[in-house]
Symmetry: C2
């Protein structure tokens, strides 16, 4: 069996702790029961070797034997290929899971992350606010009608969407009860709590 290794920063400042994206991969492995190791890469001095694995100079990336894959979304889909717990094998349910996984990355996060970035940069009049509101309202409308995004059960799409929506400023932006209940329920899962605690301990060890 190939060995899964999640490559995470060795250290990050307090702010992003509990939110750095190696958490997504840890969480997915925990949900699926896939054995994995975590290795560190320097946060402060990013080497040529780092850029070979992650050309944008970010973390995480995932190795699986000889294979190396960056982008947490791509890592999640790679892990989903190993476990039905993350993605059903029925073609219709698989398509539902895939569309909501990409929606988290390209319909919600494509607005929420730049909006967040402008907020923390101290922008006075955030030009993305109306757009974010519209995207979150669409998600709320969907979550009012169902417990899970795809396949009537927990999938990698919920893992990713909940991770996108739990970002503090995004979560505090407006009052969307179905979304809030969804985020609470999904981050109450044992696998999330384990991944979160492990990431916090990983960075605390480096202090």
């Amino acid at each position: 069996m190939s060995e899964l290794t999640i490559w995470a920063y060795d250290w990050v400042p307090d702010g992003p702790r509990g939110f750095v994206r190696d958490l997504r991969l840890r969480w997915a492995c925990e949900e699926a029961g896939l054995p994995y190791r975590v290795e560190s890469t320097p946060f402060k001095d990013r080497s040529e070797e780092h850029f070979k694995h992650q050309p944008f100079g970010q973390a995480p990336w995932l190795t699986d034997g000889d294979l190396s894959i960056f982008e947490s979304g791509a890592g999640l889909l790679h892990l989903a290929g190993k476990s039905e717990k993350l993605m059903p094998r029925d073609p219709v349910e698989e398509a539902e899971t895939l569309q909501w996984t990409i929606a988290a990355l390209n319909s919600v996060e494509m607005v929420s992350v730049p909006w967040w970035f402008l907020e923390v940069s101290g922008t006075k009049d955030n030009g993305l606010t109306g757009w974010l509101e519209s995207r979150l309202d669409h998600v709320e409308r969907v979550l009012k009608e169902r417990e899970w995004l795809a396949a009537s059960r927990f999938t990698v799409a919920d893992l990713l969407m909940a991770d996108v929506l739990r970002v503090e400023k995004v979560r505090a932006f407006g009052d969307r009860p179905a979304t809030e209940s969804y985020v609470t329920r999904i981050t109450d899962r044992r696998a999330f709590k384990k991944a979160h605690a492990d990431q916090m301990a990983h960075f605390a060890n480096a202090d």
Copy 2:
């Protein structure tokens, strides 16, 4: 054989013509030689049926027999499952293709689309400019060293990255010769030209 149908708007204003994302799905089908039909959904009055297929009220979505999938990125990965021309089956090459497909959506487009949105909204001091510059510089560095993003040949990752990078304001932002040559080369492909011409004709028919 199941029947692929791309659902596109019946009409859009002049500005987005040639850029609406049904082009990505048309292009992928043309590259792969997959037979497909195009159906229209109203741009002006978006029905409940539209939101059932695309909960953000956008287009395109793709149907494949009984299966319906939204998000152009998800549609591309679905089509890639049908054709090695879009995504190799060797696990290492498949991972390379997947990571660059997601990078186009979540590392480049996550910055370039909101940046573009702020530009066209007439924002005076676009707070995403430095971030976009950094992302495009990382892509330039990669494209200086290779002809294709993954697997040493054209894949769906190139289709998507070129489509992200060819947006006029993004393409005109800074001087990145390797990126410019990449976009020119990839949009010179027969399949792109066919998809582009077909989209332009589709919207012109509705005028």
